[in-house]
Symmetry: D3
């Protein structure tokens, strides 16, 4: 497969998951300086890894939420919470992952993640 | 509910997930010094959070794997990989989570987690 | 002991440490979504671990400050700096812990923690 | 060498790298509470480690950027990006380090670092 | 004060805390390559920060244990557990800090730290 | 460019940097389970990011060492220390980066990294 195809497949999946407007905004936010990183995101993260089909998108989203909460990446957590809602995860499912975060990453990581999740959930209504 | 019931419910779930022998070994490994921590694990982690039923155990296991790989907890990752196999996760599903780890936590975290997973998978055969 | 008693004992200790208003605000901030996490905080963190009496509360607060600064949890650090003042820690004692942070977790972690501590100390006057 | 000399040598280097105004502001920002930490920064970080001459300052700056992006220290990353520009690093060189961050620390760390870098680069023009 | 005095004061304190043999072993373990780092440890960490007298050594040791457990530095945790015993901390006091680690850094960090602590405590008997 | 070309270019660069034997060993270590991750390493990390030519390989290696020491990835640090020697970095240059690690990530991270570096340097002789 050509790398350009990988990129385009990834971009399409990313737009399906977050909406065209949000993706356009993120892709242009850092101008030329951000282009090689956006290529990594589109071609390698979405065009390759996210395009795998063994797990349903909702399960991948829950794994992403667990990962981003564990690593303390609040901005990225917000993005993947939005993706989780789009992929069909419920508030209760998200909550259950974040309670595992409380016990296995500690209360402060869970507090931070709950705060972001409560915001995304209220925007999503 | 009494705290003792919470503990017993958690211990039962933990034994179902990892086998009686493995749990006994972990519970006694640190003697009296480890008892209050084992109480936290049994009563609060398994008796409360793991006993919630919104998500299927396999999905929780995949979230745990994502979390432990992100946080670099190799020993705990091993334990929850064993739990994942018990909860019905396949090698392909585990692999797909670990490829998300590669892109979102970096190649070294994914390398480490793959190494542990390959060991657990070969023991599990 | 009943879990409800554990919760109530923890909530009482938490209110003693941070004041009723601050605790009410935190407990209701995330509505129903935050309830299970608040239960973990009240019953397990304060009702169990913080209720242990081997160490004086001031020493536990200094350990908490060390831990939160090491983990980079700025919001939780703020909360536990407020608790430290309530538990009788002085600015000089807090400073001495944060200088250990500088040498053992690095200057950036210490910078961040000093910034939060300077704010909490000036509010506390 | 006297510790005061170490401090003065470090302070001079720090002022050369960030400008007198920026350093004065940082040194006085936290008043007396911040003084012992500022001593560590001036005497030990700049007076000792940064005063070593095996590596050119630009290379040290790129290593600092890698380190701060990996550790998720956004404020300190901003400071050392400013130092990197002063030490002669180009936007392209900074970008290349941050793409290594993408692959070896994950996309979220690289996103965060790109955001800070894009701001510092636009201020620097 | 001369930097050499700072170094000697630090080395003396370090020897008081860990014993001459252990310190000699650590200081020579990495030969010339390790010398500048050993200077940082002796002069800046022990000669400056540890030489402050606001907090009793036992309290500093408990803060160090909290910090090292939070950051996942198992080797350094071992060293500072040995220092804690020398500084008069009891097993119960160490345990109470590690239970805070369980709730605020998560069960895996507490597990790892308990394992190291149980070893150090059994060696110390 | 075809993805296969990207992969082959990356693999060639990787072999130049670490030797054919070491790369073969790493690529086959985890069998089929490790293949998709090895593709990410070859095609995206080496075929894309490492193949950029703005920075000399030695500078990239020093940035990698800083990054891996900051993140506490001891195994990956070892690999990139070997790459650094191959890319022409001296022991003194590596040491200078690791002293920045001591001040900006803390003494324990620097201790760990020095230990690995001393081993790699003695093997390299």
């Amino acid at each position: 497969m050509d790398v350009q195809e990988l990129h385009d497949r990834g971009l399409k999946l990313r737009v399906d998951m977050f909406g065209r407007e949000a993706v356009s905004k993120r892709m242009s936010a850092l101008g030329d300086f951000g282009k090689p990183l956006q290529h990594i995101v589109n071609a390698y993260a979405y065009g390759d890894v996210w395009s795998r089909t063994v797990l349903p998108p909702a399960t991948k989203s829950l794994a992403m939420i667990a990962m981003m909460a564990a690593a303390g990446h609040a901005n990225e957590l917000r993005v993947h919470l939005q993706g989780a809602l789009k992929n069909g995860c419920s508030a209760d499912e998200i909550q259950e992952v974040l309670l595992l975060v409380a016990m296995y990453c500690g209360i402060p990581s869970a507090n931070e993640a709950h705060r972001v999740a409560a915001e995304v959930l209220s925007e999503g209504r």
